[in-house]
Amino acid sequence: MTQERKLAAPAVYPETEVYWQAAAKGKLMVKRCRDCGEYHHYPRSICPHCFSDNTEWCEARGTGTIYTYSVLWRTPVPYAIAYVTLDEGVSMMTNIVDCDLKGIRIGQKVRVTFKPTDGGPPMPMFTPD
């Protein structure tokens, strides 16, 4: 299925500028805490697990598993929203794209792909392997 839905541009704040600059180059970044060692998402400057401000950006492998999803049918262009659990262990909200919406399943292995937005950086989405 092609991505016909027009995507709103994400607002870019200084706190997460690195994430969007990397997205423009086709890289998915996640935040990791140097003190407690935990990854987190969505990215923050201060770790939501231990409140340390010693956090760093890491490039994610870009692969993961569908934790859950829902296809919204009651809309002009149906689409699948999902949480994907990255191989790094954190789950992120996303869309499952470039596939048959009726074939999506929890537990499916997926890989990151980037989709253009309306005047902003691209959004990381996932497609079944």
Partner: protein
């Protein structure tokens, strides 16, 4: 310190309208306030504490206080979405116990129906916040957020669409007796699962109604409540808790009720099996199922079996729930169902529910609300009420 028994609900009112084309939101707030005060037998001059959520017109509580002409010494505009009003009951009891006010007025009103709002399928943004860029472009709407929770619950625990449908079926059995209910027709499991799919796995009849109106609650000191000519309904315990995405350790199979519930039960000194009637927030069927599990009415993962076969129907099942028809059939004013949950619990405790759904000698009831989205972040509020 505890609020147990230190405050009473002396007045409640649910606006009879379900579509308020010719009324302002402020006007609706004032109408429900008037209704609850008349129900209690108190006047506006008795009110010295005012509670509303962040959706009330204007800045916090102050525009509404001014509009209604109140003279108060305590205000609280705690915002936890649809659960706010359940939380407000606990906060009002706290304020009364601390001597900060004697008569607390809680109001909710809105007109999403008249405004033609696509509550479930249009994106809604609550502020230009730092978390939104990581969500909003993906198209999170109310139905697909709750859909994701339902999908995971089905995957993890084997819950079925037919089991979820039983929740709607039960509340439709109650709503047939409520002349104000938006949807009064009794439905079957087949009706629910054959209704159009909105967001997998939620069908149209898994979703609540969109309605206008509102409601109000009067919380007061026991001495004042005893002087009024109404049955005495005491606030015995309250709990509140927000839950979110846990920094990316997302688990959509449970709600904040796992914390707000035990806190309320501990304060009241009772357990789930003591509860004779429960008002459980029903934005969607899945909301009810998860909250029943999280509040301890059944084991985690067993909600599907618990709600099946009419177990929530008054006079039929073991736990009568939402005997007014709930948000699924009766009313979901301003897209916020917490206030009406408290109202029906009070009706049950007073013996003022419709005779066809009245729980016999109902002495102990629970009201629980969820606000925001269980797919991302939400607030939970639980109160336990007892008739003396």
């Amino acid at each position: 310190m505890s609020i147990k028994g230190k405050a009473c609900i002396a007045g409640v009112f649910e606006h009879p309208t379900r579509e308020a084309r010719d009324k302002s939101v402020m006007q609706l707030h004032a109408e429900v306030a008037k209704g609850a005060l008349e129900d209690a037998g108190l006047s506006m001059r008795d009110v010295d504490g005012y509670f509303c959520a962040g959706d009330a017109p204007g800045l916090g509580a102050i525009n509404m206080v001014d509009y209604m002409g109140l003279r108060v010494r305590h205000v609280d505009s705690t915002e936890t979405g649809g659960s706010s009003y359940v939380v407000h009951v606990g906060h009002a009891a706290e304020a009364i116990a601390m001597g900060k006010c004697n008569v607390a007025l809680i109001t909710l009103a809105g007109r999403p129906k008249a405004e033609g709002m696509a509550t479930g399928t249009a994106p809604r943004v609550f502020g230009n916040t730092a978390d939104m860029p990581f969500e909003f472009p993906y198209g999170p709407v109310t139905t697909n957020m709750y859909g994701m929770a339902a999908m995971r619950h089905m995957y993890q625990y084997g819950t079925t669409s037919e089991q979820l449908a039983w929740i709607r079926v039960a509340f439709s059995h109650h709503a047939q007796h409520n002349p104000n209910a938006v949807m009064r027709d009794v439905v079957t499991v087949e009706d629910v699962v054959n209704s159009p799919m909105i967001a997998d796995p939620l069908h149209r009849l898994d979703c609540c109604v969109i309605s206008d109106g509102g409601g109000a609650i009067i919380v007061t000191r026991p001495e004042i409540a005893k002087s009024l000519k109404r049955p005495l309904v005491k606030v015995m315990g309250a709990g509140e808790s927000p839950k979110g995405q846990m920094g990316g350790k997302v688990d959509l199979t449970y709600t904040g009720a796992v914390w707000s519930g035990p806190a309320a039960f501990a304060e009241a000194g009772v357990k789930p099996s003591d509860i004779q009637y429960a008002s459980i927030y029903d934005s969607f069927t899945i909301t009810v199922l998860m909250q029943l599990e999280d509040l301890g009415f059944c084991e985690k993962g067993q909600g599907g079996k618990f709600v099946a076969d009419g177990n929530l129907i008054s006079g039929v099942g073991k736990l009568p729930v939402n005997t007014d028809g709930g948000g699924l059939c009766n009313n979901h004013p301003q897209n916020r169902g917490g206030l009406t949950k408290v109202v029906e619990a009070v009706r049950q405790l007073r013996g003022e529910a419709h005779p066809a759904v009245q729980v016999r000698d109902c002495k102990l009831a629970l009201a629980h609300g969820t606000g925001g989205s269980i797919g991302t972040r939400h607030g939970s509020g639980t109160v336990i009420l007892e008739r003396e």
